[in-house]
């Protein structure tokens, strides 16, 4: 379904550096892939490139991103827009700022439908309410009319998920979706992702610096370091038997972190 071949992204404005160098990824329908690495390792750039959210004028992109048999990198802006929100949904790190502060939650969730399908307002509304129930937003009827600042962080992230998932896309790109949340909420949100994957069969591309979180959701994982993929395989395999020095450090950091938390 998704094939990333030899993807290279170079920023050419003031400090020419390759953010991503020759990455290869492969995802099947319903697959869950984690993309792990420290900040600056290029994982977010990779994800944004796939989602078509990298501004063309600041970056030079080479390689192929084949999604459903089409190379997204060669799509025009308007062609890309047909995919965005319909077949690929994106959820970002900061639920606080990623929602439009002046738009009602319901309208933001519906917007994804409105942009891709011609439906009556009532139909859109019922779709929104349904997906809100699905992602576990409490009292959808009330929440529908609320504004982002009236919701908690977890609720906002659920709203983000609802908006991204309302069209039942094939792929959800999750860019550090739980980093900004506290641990209990984190677990709940991860549950939502798992449920969506299991029940609705959506593929997940999960980007995180936290291997532990990835392990709870993803079957496969790719470890990025300095713009390159250094390790790629089944999550459990990598956890039990890390090959690369950097992966080992990551795992060590996770366990150390766990200890401090207890």
């Amino acid at each position: 379904m998704l094939d990333v071949k030899n993807l290279t992204v170079t920023f050419n404005d003031d400090h020419p550096a390759e953010a991503v160098r020759g990455i290869n990824l492969h995802m099947e329908d319903g697959e869950t892939l984690g993309l792990v690495g420290e900040s600056g390792s290029g994982k977010t750039v990779t994800a944004m490139t796939i989602a078509g959210l990298l501004a063309n004028d600041s970056a030079e992109i080479n390689g192929e991103v084949i999604f459903d048999g089409r190379d997204l990198l060669h799509c025009s802006c308007s062609e890309m827009r047909l995919v965005q929100g319909k077949d690929i949904g994106v959820i970002f790190q900061e639920p606080m700022t990623s929602l439009d502060p002046l738009m009602r939650i319901g309208h933001q969730i519906e917007e994804t439908v409105r942009l891709h399908f011609k439906l009556k307002p009532e139909e859109r509304r019922s779709m929104a309410l349904e997906v809100m129930r699905l992602v576990g937003l409490p009292e959808p009827d009330l929440t529908y009319k609320k504004y982002p600042h009236q919701l908690s962080g977890g609720q906002r992230q659920r709203a983000m998920i609802a908006a991204a998932f309302i069209n039942h896309p094939k792929l959800l790109i999750l860019d550090e979706p739980t980093t900004a949340l506290d641990v209990t909420v984190q677990a709940q949100i991860l549950d939502v992702f798992r449920r969506l994957n299991e029940k609705c069969g959506v593929s997940l591309l999960f980007i995180s610096h936290d291997l532990r979180v990835v392990r709870r959701v993803c079957k496969k994982v790719a470890v990025m370091y300095n713009g390159e993929i250094v390790e790629y395989g089944d999550t459990e395999d990598i956890f039990t038997n890390p090959q690369h020095e950097y992966t080992k450090q990551l795992i060590a950091a996770v366990s150390a972190g766990r200890r401090t938390h207890v």
């Binding site: 920023f11 003031d14 990298l54 501004a55 600041s58």
Partner: protein
């Protein structure tokens, strides 16, 4: 995407050009204290209405006075009025805004209500009404503008003080038993300097405009008290057809003065707006 944004710092062209323009004007004004090409008041029948060029760089007016010399002196008048008015407005405004912002409470509420009521009115309109009542003249204008500027300075300073009051360094100072006066003026004031400076530049901008408007309406600096750019513009309007350089010189000088200050305030104002100092400081203290 934020991470991917261009993060290079372009030179602050606004500030640079603003300073260049204002410096040139100020230099011209300072020179005019000691020397002008001609005596700005000296009338000469033989040299009436000369076109620009030759000995008279910007020509002469209907009294045969050298326009360039008059623009030099007029800019000085305008700027000195602006300076005094801003000084009054900024000093009183800082004290009032500082006290109310730092201590808060009922007085703060009360004074801010008055402030809101006064700032709701355009200061030029108020100045016009007051000056027709008190009479025109340089001193009157300085005081009227100065007093009218107090609320806007107070508002800016109050907001900043209220913000700074919450900062750790102020709380620490309080815990260490530093007196409020010292906290306010030694600790906080330097921290709000960029905002205050920007407000001062805006104040200059407004003061120049207000003085020019009032003089243009004939209620500002009197014709003979001192040369004023607004007054020059008013007087020269009658000679548009025969000697447009009179009105053009005065009008352009006013515009250039305003442009200089606008650019400076712009240059000073953008930085804190884009990178709030509060964020950085919070990190330092964390």
């Amino acid at each position: 995407m934020k991470k991917l944004k261009n993060s290079h710092r372009a030179p602050n062209y606004n500030l640079i050009w603003g300073c260049v323009i204002t410096s040139i004007m100020v230099l011209m004004i300072v020179v005019s204290f000691f020397w002008t090409p001609f005596n700005p008041d000296a009338m000469s029948y033989a040299e009436k209405d000369l076109a620009p060029g030759g000995a008279h760089l910007l020509g002469t007016d209907n009294f045969g006075r050298d326009i360039f010399s008059r623009v030099m002196e007029g800019a000085g008048t305008t700027l000195s009025i602006a300076f005094c008015a801003v000084a009054i407005g900024a000093s009183f405004g800082t004290v009032i805004g500082g006290l109310t912002g730092y201590f808060g409470g009922a007085w703060d509420e009360f004074i801010m209500r008055i402030n809101d009521a006064v700032t709701a009115f355009p200061s030029i309109l108020l100045a016009l009404v007051i000056v027709t009542i008190t009479g025109s003249g340089r001193t009157n204008i300085i005081f009227i503008l100065g007093i009218l500027f107090i609320p806007s300075f107070a508002r800016v300073v109050r907001g900043e003080f209220a913000k700074q009051r919450q900062m750790d360094y102020v709380k620490n100072a309080k815990l260490m038993g530093v007196k409020p006066g010292r906290i306010m003026f030694v600790h906080i004031l330097p921290n709000i300097a960029p905002v205050l400076l920007s407000a001062v530049a805006i104040g200059f901008n407004n003061a120049v405009l207000a003085e020019a408007s009032m003089s243009y309406l004939g209620v500002g600096v009197s014709q003979t008290e001192a040369v004023s750019l607004g007054r020059m513009l008013l007087d020269s309007q009658a000679y548009w057809m025969t000697s447009p350089w009179q009105a053009l010189s005065a009008g352009c000088a006013i515009s250039i003065l305003i442009l200089g200050f606008a650019l400076i305030s712009e240059g000073l104002g953008t930085r804190p707006m884009w990178r709030p100092t509060t964020k950085r400081r919070r990190k330092q203290h964390a």
